[in-house]
């Protein structure tokens, strides 16, 4: 697994491990490690940040649908296995699509906390002397908030600062929570960004006329983003699925239909989006969708960043027996995309992805 390889080659902490554990399940980071990577722990321990180990032990994402009761548990082995962690092990395991172009339902992460404005960063630089606020902009987690309001109206723009000029600003859908009940579909994570082996399409080397081309030294998610942080890129449909072509030149109706046929439909009745190509080149390129990030000063009131490390290799122990899947469910309690939860079950019971 590439992720595991990267973790071993360049992301492993320099601290000694007394007990080698090959693939431990995830735990929260300890305060020292947050401080060392430029995160304001005082702010992290406020309720708005919802740090696992302090808050959200029960309630979403745990639910009767996914069988979870506690999102995290005390576990004294965490800090022994990895000295950068504290003794709270995460059970709520959020599933999503990997941003490598395939849209495979193979990414599993732990949403440890939410950061809502720049005061959550201290300005302390990491081991490479780069501020976390600069690193995190390279790694996007794509959130899909529900656009259908409780009264059934479909809102074509988010409330706050992110509104697209392609749609009216009212009615708008709220952006103050990315908790699972607020989502219309599952997440997409750019864990593949800037892989040092070029697996993200980044040109590492090649040949010119008589010379070899060498690229720069890019960031890598598993190398530089030691807290596993993300900037949240919200994406939404700027057309109502009931009226997808508000002007005659638009082709959104056929685009939405094709995507829905391929991926299925989400809780709003719009298609599930799994890849960058679908979002960028099909929706956004045709005025059918938009994306944006929340105001970094906190004006939108929701999460701008996540502390949310991906499990480098969810196989062979990465998913603990008592973990539960945090995915989007339909009102009837069935998962919106069974492929994610199926992979979770396979990994949990066999240590391998489903065939």
């Amino acid at each position: 697994m590439l992720g595991a390889l990267l973790q071993l080659t360049c992301g492993a902490p320099a601290l000694p491990q007394t007990t080698p554990v090959v693939n431990p399940p995830p735990c929260d980071f300890n305060d020292n490690f947050y401080n060392a990577n430029g995160i304001n722990v005082t702010n992290l321990d406020l309720q708005v940040a919802g740090r696992f180990g302090n808050f959200r032990q029960t309630g979403p994402p745990a639910s009767s649908f996914n069988g979870g009761t506690n999102n995290w548990v005390a576990d004294s082995t965490c800090s022994v296995t990895d000295p950068t962690r504290r003794n709270f092990r995460i059970l709520a395991t959020t599933g999503g699509y990997v941003d490598d172009g395939t849209g495979s339902p193979t990414d599993f992460i732990s949403i440890l906390a939410f950061l809502t404005n720049q005061n959550d960063f201290t300005g302390v630089a990491n081991a490479r002397n780069i501020q976390m606020v600069d690193i995190v902009g390279n790694f996007e987690a794509y959130a899909a908030l529900k656009q259908r309001l409780p009264n059934g109206t479909f809102a074509r723009n988010p409330c706050g600062t992110m509104a697209s000029p392609d749609a009216p600003t009212t009615p708008c859908f709220p952006v103050t929570s990315v908790a699972t009940p607020s989502l219309r579909q599952d997440w997409r994570f750019a864990t593949n960004r800037n892989a040092i082996d070029g697996s993200d399409g980044n040109l590492v080397n090649g040949t010119g006329k008589g010379v070899t081309i060498v690229n720069n030294s890019p960031f890598g998610y598993f190398c530089d983003d030691l807290l596993g942080m993300w900037v949240i890129t919200y994406f939404w449909f700027t057309v109502d699925p009931a009226n997808p072509n508000p002007n005659p030149t638009q082709q959104c109706g056929s685009i939405l239909a094709a995507l829905g046929q391929k991926n299925g439909f989400n809780l709003d009745g719009t298609p599930i989006i799994k890849t960058a190509d679908e979002l960028n080149n099909q929706l956004e390129a045709n005025h059918c969708g938009a994306e944006g990030q929340e105001d970094v000063g906190g004006a939108d009131g929701g999460a701008v960043w996540l502390v949310c490390p991906a499990i480098p290799d969810p196989r062979q122990g990465g998913i603990a027996p008592d973990a539960f899947p945090d995915v989007v469910f339909k009102p009837d309690g069935t998962p919106l995309d069974p492929a994610i939860i199926n992979n979770f079950r396979c990994l949990q019971t066999t240590g391998q992805f489903c065939n």
């Binding site: 010379v211 720069n216 970094v296 004006a299």
Partner: protein, 464 residues
């Protein structure tokens, strides 16, 4: 009359003018400079050179774009060039040409097929490739000591059709965001706006609270050109696609970028932005009239020299995050052409190869503006950025550590082609944006008009 991109108000007292080969430049007043420049223009586009040889000594004539920092040009002319000339027994003549005039001067030389031996552009001179020697051998000679050609140089100087390097790139100038920390703290963004959405929303709050607008360059200047090409690219807009096809209206991205800039100017900008000449954004930032801009770090260097209190408040951050990621085109890409009609081609090629040996001095004398194309030449670049002798705090420039990562070549996503570069040098993109910001055209109509112009240019170069 365009003037060099001088810094510091009025900034022009630092301009240099070439009076004679191998002599130290004189300081001239703005009025004197303009009079001399006007005279030169009236006389003709060509420089007057002394006899090519004196007592058999060869001459190397170099035309180079006038750097943002005049002290760099002074060093280049009075230290670097003479030292090299002495070593090779070649008389070196250096002429500094304002960036805004460099294209016109180059065109005049190729039309006459005479002039300088070496022409240094601040961007990839792809339109001049039929008048250039193949520079591959220079890259190959450099490779022995410094490794293979880096991507930014390769894509800035290589023609995929002819398989030739039409220029040689030795350094480039990153273009980070500069912002006034005090201003942006008022918007609860002491670390800067970070992404385009917050630039608009935070900039709106800064202007509302302090009356200080956001100051991106939007006009047909080098600064406006780089800024607006960057925004277009950050919004996923493309002039040409990877294969060189005209793509500016292929999708909604160009229109989205146009609407964004119009909204940014309305919500957080100033009408003055629409009239700025060269370095207008720099002067506005240095006089505290705007809260942020995108530029080479020569801006901050000028502040450090002239107004340390202001410089302390000006912070850098990597480019803003857009839907295409964190990205900004280089403020300059130092690309040199040895003309195929040059009289001293061997000397010019040798000078370029040897220039790489001096990359560290280039970096130092440009006060960190010019990053080396060959990273091995300044191996302690990161250490320098973390502890800058002029900066307060000294670690301010570390935001540039990964500049190579976020800087694509002009021409991206493809190579710097004649079509792309003619679009660049005719300021088509700033004109497109300005027509929308000023309300002269809708975003859709402006994009369509630009597409027609790009297609016309592409037709002109279809065999290149």
């Amino acid at each position: 009359m365009s003037t060099p991109a001088g810094f510091g108000l009025p900034g022009l007292e630092c301009l240099w003018i070439k009076t004679a080969p191998m002599t130290y430049p004189k300081k001239v007043s703005r009025r004197h400079f303009l009079r001399l420049a006007a005279t030169a223009t009236a006389v003709g586009p060509f420089f007057t050179f002394p006899n090519r040889t004196l007592a058999g000594q060869k001459t190397l004539k170099i035309a180079k774009w006038a750097h943002f920092l005049p002290s760099y040009d002074a060093w280049f002319e009075s230290v670097l060039a003479p030292a090299w000339g002495k070593q090779h027994d070649i008389r070196v003549v250096v002429d500094h040409i304002p960036a805004e005039q460099i294209g016109g001067r180059a065109m005049a030389e190729v039309a006459a097929r005479k002039g300088h031996d070496l022409f240094m552009f601040p961007w990839p001179p792809a339109e001049f490739q039929q008048h250039a020697v193949d520079h591959t051998e220079i890259y190959q000679s450099v490779a022995a000591n410094f490794g293979s050609i880096p991507l930014i140089a390769y894509k800035s100087t290589f023609n995929l059709k002819t398989k030739k390097h039409f220029a040689f790139a030795d350094s480039w100038v990153p273009s980070p965001l500069h912002y006034d920390e005090d201003c942006w703290s008022e918007a609860n963004m002491p670390l800067g706006p970070l992404h385009y959405g917050s630039l608009r929303s935070g900039g709106q709050r800064v202007r509302a609270k302090l009356g200080i607008p956001c100051g991106l360059a939007l006009t047909s200047t080098l600064e406006g050109n780089i800024t607006l090409h960057t925004i277009l690219y950050a919004f996923r807009g493309e002039i040409l696609d990877q294969d060189g096809n005209v793509a500016i209206t292929k999708n909604a991205f160009t229109v989205n970028a146009l609407k964004y800039v119009k909204a940014l100017n309305q919500d957080a900008g100033t009408p003055e932005q629409l009239t700025w000449g060269p370095s207008g954004n720099v002067r506005a930032m240095l006089s505290g009239k705007v809260s942020c801009t995108s530029n080479a770090i020569s801006l901050l260097r000028a502040a450090e020299k002239e107004n340390p209190a202001l410089a302390k408040k000006i912070r850098l951050q990597p480019p803003l995050l857009g839907s295409a990621g964190v990205t900004a085109f280089p403020h300059a890409t130092n690309c040199s052409v040895v003309w195929n009609f040059a009289q001293n081609q061997d000397g010019a090629k040798q000078f370029l190869a040897d220039l790489i040996d001096k990359s560290k001095a280039v970096y130092e004398n440009s006060k960190g503006c010019n990053f080396p194309v060959y990273q091995k030449t300044v191996p302690d670049l990161i250490v320098r950025l973390e502890n800058d002798p002029y900066a307060d705090p000294p670690y301010k420039y570390k935001e540039l550590k990964d500049a190579l990562h976020w800087t694509p070549n002009l021409g991206a996503p493809g190579f710097a082609s004649p079509v792309w570069m003619e679009v660049f040098n005719t300021f088509l993109i700033p004109r497109m944006f300005l027509s929308v910001v000023k309300g002269e055209l809708s975003a859709e109509d402006a994009a369509r008009a630009a597409e027609a112009e790009v297609k016309r240019i592409a037709g002109k170069w279809k065999d290149a």
